[in-house]
Each structure stands twice: as structure tokens, then as C-alpha cells.
């Protein structure tokens, strides 16, 4: 370690940002290519159904297929908006 590195370390190093971004995108792309073909369409339809009842974002639905032994598990994660927001929206639409 040199004494000048003290001043340099203030800035977040870009290599660790790169690694983090890559890990996320690569994991997502692997899940897509290893997953069954119907997954994107299924995701869209589920999103539409949820949107009938709750105003959620496009990214609010996360879907992953894991295999455990002979079993394949479809994991579905929906992030609902804050209570206040959803009730407001529901009130407006009724």
C-alpha cells in the first residue's frame, strides 16, 4: 500500500461496480436461457392478472425456475406497492 492510495480510495472503484453489474445480468440471462420457453409469456400474463387488482410495476414480478432433484419449482415473487398508494389507486378506479 502506498501513502497516495489513501487519497485515491475515496472514489468507489469501478471494477467492483463492473463485477456487481455483471453478476446480476449474467444470473438473469442464465435463468432465462435455462428456463422453459413459456416463461416470458407466462410472466406477462401473470403480470396482467395482478394489474387488474393492484397497480404494480413492470418489474414487480420476478419468476425463477429451480430444479431440486427430479422436481422443478416455479418461484413467483410479486412486490406490491405501499399500502397507501394501492388503496388510493383502487379508490380512484372504483
Amino acid at each position: 500500500m502506498s501513502f497516495l492510495s489513501y487519497f485515491r480510495s475515496q472514489r468507489r472503484n469501478s471494477a467492483s461496480v463492473a463485477k456487481e453489474r455483471l453478476q446480476i445480468i449474467v444470473a438473469r440471462e442464465r435463468a432465462q436461457r435455462d428456463g422453459p420457453d413459456y416463461l416470458p409469456a407466462l410472466r406477462e400474463e401473470i403480470l396482467e392478472v395482478i394489474r387488474k387488482y393492484v397497480p404494480v410495476d413492470k418489474d414487480a414480478v420476478r419468476m425463477e425456475v429451480d430444479s431440486e432433484g427430479d422436481c422443478e419449482v416455479l418461484e413467483l415473487n410479486v412486490t406490491l406497492p405501499d399500502r397507501g398508494v394501492s388503496e388510493q389507486a383502487a379508490g380512484r378506479s372504483s
Partner: protein, 268 residues
């Protein structure tokens, strides 16, 4: 038993052709009969890197179409015994390579050669997929840079599903990672993904790390495979990689920058 090895990457400009030339020359130097085949139809360049561009008469597509036989098209390297080059065609016809044609040529090469190195074009189009289709082993050339790593991962996915071995369900191809244009100095400063970062993400066996080096450009200027420049860092790093490919254990070199006392005091 002959082996077909594809040099691939997805992304362009990462060093596939440099690596193909270096590996072919490195294997031939060790006494293996080696053919190196340029699959980049329309953008022939392996001949330049190998320094035999003025001796091209017939090419890969001529052989596939039956205009020439393999012996007429193969260029014998003047430096190394047993090293032959099959140049790509400069045609603009994208469908010039046919699956059957490629298979026939590779089968014929298998009769004579120990190693057949396939220099893949960039991208994931027909040429790249055909270069990979019949391979037994793959060397994935990657730069420590986000787009290159992502493309390499995509290519690994394709190698696992779109090759003959994958389709026939036979033994999976062996995949090797070759990290090129590596700058230890920039890694130390936190400006470049480290070899461990790239390994963590791609999760395949590391064949070698080639340092960013002036020797690579100088060798290509002269038409000499860089592995034959034995006094250069890149040449030695390629030689190590070839040795590891053949099963030898060699420690990884050129991963840290050599610096003097002043550099250590004031460097990052």
C-alpha cells in the same frame, strides 16, 4: 485421436485470431500436426496474422464447393513443420459455408492432423455456430471488460446446447477460459476486473492470462504468431497456456506488475 478446438468469444476484437495463430504455432512447435482453419468468411485475417497472405490460392469455400481439394488449399507454414493454414474465403455470400461441407472438410482434416484449431468469427451467426458445432474443446477468449464477459457467458450457453456433442448427448465439450489484454496495473488500481472476478462470473477452468502487451501488435505487424516471440511476456504467456492445455502444470505469471521501489511508493 485428433481433436477439434474452437477459439471463440462472442465479442469481436478480443484476440481470437491472435490466439488461434498462437495456439496452432505452439502446438506445432511441440511436434503436433496442426491445422488452423479461418471460419471468418468475408473477413479473412488469419492469413495476415500467420504471415502467409501472399500464398493464398484456394480457400475453405473453394474446398467445400469442390473447386479445389484440401491439399491445394492448405498453406504449409514455412517456420514450423506440421503446421498448415486453411484460409477463409473473401466471398460476401453468407451461406457459403454449409454444415455438410464443414463436416466433410473437418473429417478429412481429422485423418491427418492431431489438432484442428477453428478460428471463429465474432458474433453468434452461422459462421460462429459452424466453427463451434463439431468441436471437442473450446477456448473462450475474454477481455476483462463487461461486454466481453457477458458475451462469453452467452457463448458458453450456446456451446452447452448448440454443438453436436450437446445435441447428441455425448460427453460435453471441455471449456477453457483465456483472459487476454490483462493489465495488472489497472487491476491493482481497481479500474479493471481481476482474473478472479472473471473466474467467479464465468465459472470455467482458467487456461491462461495474456497480459496487455506491445508484443502482440508487433508480432501481427510482422505476421509472426506471438508465441514464437519467446522473449516477450505475451509470447511466454501463450506458451504457458498451450502447455496447460496439454495437461502440464504451470504457475500463472504476469498477474502482478513488476515495479521498482519508486513505483511502489508512489503507485496506486
Amino acid at each position: 485421436m485428433s481433436k477439434i478446438v474452437v477459439i471463440t468469444s462472442g465479442k469481436g476484437g478480443v484476440g481470437k485470431t491472435t490466439t488461434s495463430a498462437a495456439f496452432a504455432a505452439g502446438l506445432a512447435k511441440r511436434g503436433f500436426k496442426t491445422a488452423v482453419v479461418d471460419f471468418d468468411v468475408g473477413l479473412r485475417n488469419l492469413d495476415l496474422i500467420m504471415g502467409c497472405e501472399r500464398r493464398v490460392v484456394y480457400d475453405f469455400v473453394n474446398v467445400i464447393n469442390g473447386d479445389a481439394n484440401l491439399n491445394q488449399a492448405m498453406i504449409k507454414d514455412k517456420r514450423l513443420e506440421g503446421l498448415h493454414i486453411l484460409p477463409a474465403s473473401q466471398t460476401r455470400d453468407k451461406d457459403a459455408l454449409t454444415q455438410e461441407g464443414v463436416e466433410n472438410v473437418l473429417d478429412e482434416l481429422r485423418e491427418t492432423f492431431d489438432y484442428i484449431i477453428c478460428d471463429s468469427p465474432a458474433g453468434i451467426e452461422r459462421g460462429a455456430m459452424l466453427a463451434a458445432y463439431y468441436c471437442d474443446e473450446a477456448i473462450v477468449v475474454t477481455n476483462p471488460e463487461v461486454s466481453s464477459v457477458r458475451d462469453s457467458d452467452r457463448m458458453l450457453g450456446l456451446l452447452a446446447s448448440k454443438t453436436r456433442r450437446a445435441e447428441q448427448g455425448s460427453e460435453p465439450i471441455r471449456e477453457h477460459l483465456l483472459l487476454t489484454r490483462y493489465s495488472p496495473q489497472r487491476v491493482q488500481k481497481g479500474e479493471m476486473l481481476s482474473v478472479d472476478d472473471v473466474r467467479d462470473i464465468l465459472a470455467i477452468e482458467l487456461l491462461g492470462v495474456i497480459p496487455e502487451s506491445q508484443a502482440v501488435l508487433q508480432a501481427s505487424n510482422a505476421g509472426i504468431p506471438v508465441v514464437l516471440e519467446e522473449n516477450t511476456d505475451a509470447g511466454q504467456a501463450y506458451d504457458d497456456a498451450v502447455a496447460r492445455f496439454l495437461g502440464e502444470e504451470r504457475e500463472h505469471r504476469f498477474l502482478v506488475e513488476k515495479r521498482g521501489i519508486l513505483g511502489r511508493l508512489f503507485g496506486g
